[in-house]
Every structure is written in structure tokens, then in C-alpha cells.
């Protein structure tokens, strides 16, 4: 249990996916200035990450290693993720049209989100157990959502500020990320 908590906190804060590992940056910079959509995006990504991590672990354990085709991991992981996203998209479309309109467009983008493939790769390298992998994905997703929420909140405020023309949009977003990164590096000594 202790170990799982350490994994969770490690993935969420100490080695935060966006601010430390540089994974999942596209939605981070593209996310709107609304806290609501940031949280939705974060939730969606977390769900996909967790299921993908589970699927990837099973594939690695029951297909790749027994059949000695470890080198196929990249192809299999990304296909699983793409399929998963398709299924989730269809599911949401059929069951909750409103939800689909809310963030349906973001869904296909999650396939190419470095964070999703990233967590499966990291789990593989770290050699986590099944529970470890799932907890790691949850932690990573939680940290991802946290940063997304913080960023959208700050950008919301920034709308009313007088930003220099050349800094508007991406440049100032990067500077905010720098400051967030500095703040988060304080978690380094936690464990």
C-alpha cells in the first residue's frame, strides 16, 4: 500500500507529466481559458490513460513476453490506445449526446497525446506490477489535470491583463509554465 502511495505521488507531483516530464503539452497549451473544459479534458485523459495502462500491462505480460515479440510493444500500445479512444468516442456519442458536444472534438486528439502513450512506456520501463501501473496512470492523470486546471485559471485572469503584443498567447503561457515548474520542483525532496 505504501508503495502505491509513493507511486501515485511520484507521478502526480514529483515527476509531474506536464511540468517535469514534458508529456501532454499539446492540450496544455491549447486548452481554453475555462476551468470547466480544463477539468473535462483532464478527466477524459485520465480515464484513457488508466484503461490504456491496464491494457498495455496485460498485453506485455500475456502476449509480448510469452511470444518473445517484445519489439512489437510500440505498435501494439499505440493501436490499443487508438482503438480505445474510438470505442470511448462511440460510446459517448451513443449514450450522452450532450457530453459528446461538450468535448467530443478533443477525444481523437487524445490518441496522439504523448501522456497516454507515455504512461504505458513509463510503466513498462519501471516494471510496475498491474496495480502499480494502474495507480501510476491515475497519479499521472491527476497531476495532469491539476496543472491543466491551474493553467486555465491563470489564463482566465490573464485575459484582463495588459500583455505585451509579442508575448500574447503562447510565449506568456510558456513563462507561466516556467514558474509552475519552479514551484513544483519543490516537491523534489518529498520522498
Amino acid at each position: 500500500m505504501n508503495e502505491l502511495i509513493v507511486i501515485f505521488i511520484g507521478m502526480a507531483l514529483i515527476n509531474n507529466f506536464i511540468i517535469v516530464r514534458f508529456l501532454g503539452l499539446c492540450p496544455f497549451f491549447g486548452v481554453s481559458k475555462h476551468l470547466g473544459s480544463a477539468l473535462s479534458m483532464g478527466a477524459a485523459v485520465t480515464i484513457v490513460m488508466t484503461i490504456s495502462a491496464l491494457a498495455a500491462w496485460l498485453i506485455e505480460a500475456y502476449i509480448l513476453i510469452p511470444f518473445d515479440i517484445e519489439y512489437m510493444y510500440i505498435v501494439m500500445f499505440i493501436l490499443v490506445i487508438a482503438t480505445l479512444v474510438q470505442i470511448i468516442e462511440l460510446f459517448i456519442k451513443k449514450t450522452n449526446a450532450q457530453l459528446y458536444f461538450a468535448f467530443g472534438i478533443y477525444l481523437p486528439l487524445i490518441t496522439t497525446n504523448c501522456a497516454v502513450l507515455g504512461i504505458t512506456l513509463i510503466n513498462r520501463i519501471e516494471g510496475f506490477s498491474l496495480s502499480g501501473s494502474v495507480v501510476a496512470a491515475l497519479g499521472a492523470g491527476a497531476g495532469f489535470t491539476l496543472i491543466l486546471a491551474m493553467m486555465s485559471g491563470i489564463r482566465e485572469k490573464l485575459e484582463t491583463a495588459n500583455t505585451p503584443k509579442s508575448m500574447r498567447g503562447l510565449p506568456v503561457a510558456f513563462l507561466i509554465a516556467t514558474l509552475l515548474g519552479l514551484a513544483f520542483s519543490g516537491f523534489g525532496g518529498m520522498i
Binding site: I69, Y71, M72, V75, I125, E126, G188
Partner: protein, 182 residues
């Protein structure tokens, strides 16, 4: 014609399957071509590091995860790999023994620490500290040991110290048993 219609309907799937089949074939081929070379690379690396630690090594064996080094003067030395959890990921360290109680030195096999900071653990001013120490003395100064951590790379250097100490404690015991069993 019915056959033509069926073909049209399944065309997308046929193409996809064909692409997958060709890809898998090519990947399998690449794996075949590179697998040995990859193993060889890993061997080469270990060999080079062992040679650095034991310049008069003539050959070596691997038994139960302990390297047995035979040198020209009929002397038998031991080495083993310690694995530490660093800031960026796994740190693999080769630890060489002078005799049953003293370390000969360490070499960093692989690490993914921050360049310019954490990856200073590979520099000799850090690794040289381990030479001549007993397993017990491998600890940070503040913990009563003889090894100084690197400023700005506390996590990385602490990880190395911790890993070497743990591995040394464990392996030295195994080596002593082996020696006695002879």
C-alpha cells in the same frame, strides 16, 4: 456481381490487414537482424567497465549475478551490479571488490540523470570516493559514512550511495559463502 460487391465492402479491412501484415513482417526481420547486435552492445559495455576497474583482467564469468574476474596472476576478484532509483530513472552501477571487505571502485553503467547536474555522478571525483571503502563505510557523511554527495545532485548521488551499500552488503555475504563453500 456478388463477388465484386463483397470485395468492395471488405476492401478497407483487406488493405488494413495487408498493411499490418507487411509491417509485422518487416519488423520481425529488423528484430532478427538487430537482436544479436543489441545483446553484444550490452556485453561490450560491461566488459569495458570491468576492464577499467580490473586492468589485468584476462577473462570473466557470470555466476548468480556476480562477476568472477580472473586476472593474469591467478587472482580471483569479484564485481556485481547495483541498481539505484535516481531522479530521472534507473541508475546501474558496477561495483568492483578489492577483497572480501573492501571495494575496489565503482563505475556508472547507465543513468538518465539531468545533464550537468545529476549526471555528474559519472565523474571521477565522485566515483573515486568509493575506492578502498568497506561496505559499512559506504554512506553519506551525514549518515556516518565516508562519501560526500554532489552539490546540486543530492538525489542522484544519494541514490548511488544507497544502491552500492545495499548491493555490497548483500553480495559480499554471498561471496563469502561461496568462498567458504569451495
Amino acid at each position: 456481381m456478388s463477388a465484386k460487391n463483397t470485395l468492395k465492402k471488405f476492401y478497407p479491412v483487406i488493405v488494413l490487414t495487408a498493411v499490418v501484415a507487411i509491417s509485422v513482417g518487416l519488423l520481425s526481420l529488423t528484430d532478427n537482424l538487430t537482436r544479436e547486435k543489441i545483446e553484444w552492445q550490452k556485453e561490450q559495455k560491461i566488459q569495458r567497465l570491468l576492464f577499467d576497474l580490473f586492468p589485468d583482467m584476462s577473462r570473466y564469468d557470470l555466476e548468480n549475478e556476480i562477476y568472477i574476474i580472473y586476472s593474469t596472476e591467478d587472482k580471483v576478484s569479484y564485481a556485481f551490479v547495483a541498481v539505484g532509483k535516481g531522479y530521472g530513472g534507473e541508475i546501474n552501477i558496477l561495483v568492483g571488490l578489492e577483497d572480501e571487505n573492501t571495494l575496489k571502485g565503482i563505475s556508472i553503467i547507465s543513468q538518465v540523470e539531468t545533464p550537468g547536474l545529476g549526471n555528474r555522478i559519472t565523474e571521477s571525483y565522485f566515483t573515486d570516493q568509493f575506492a578502498g571503502l568497506s561496505a559499512d563505510e559506504v554512506a553519506r557523511r551525514r549518515d556516518g559514512g565516508q562519501v560526500d554527495t554532489i552539490t546540486g545532485a543530492t538525489m542522484s548521488s544519494s541514490a548511488v550511495i544507497k544502491a552500492v551499500r545495499a548491493a555490497a552488503m548483500e553480495k559480499i555475504k554471498l561471496i563469502k559463502d561461496r568462498e567458504q563453500g569451495k
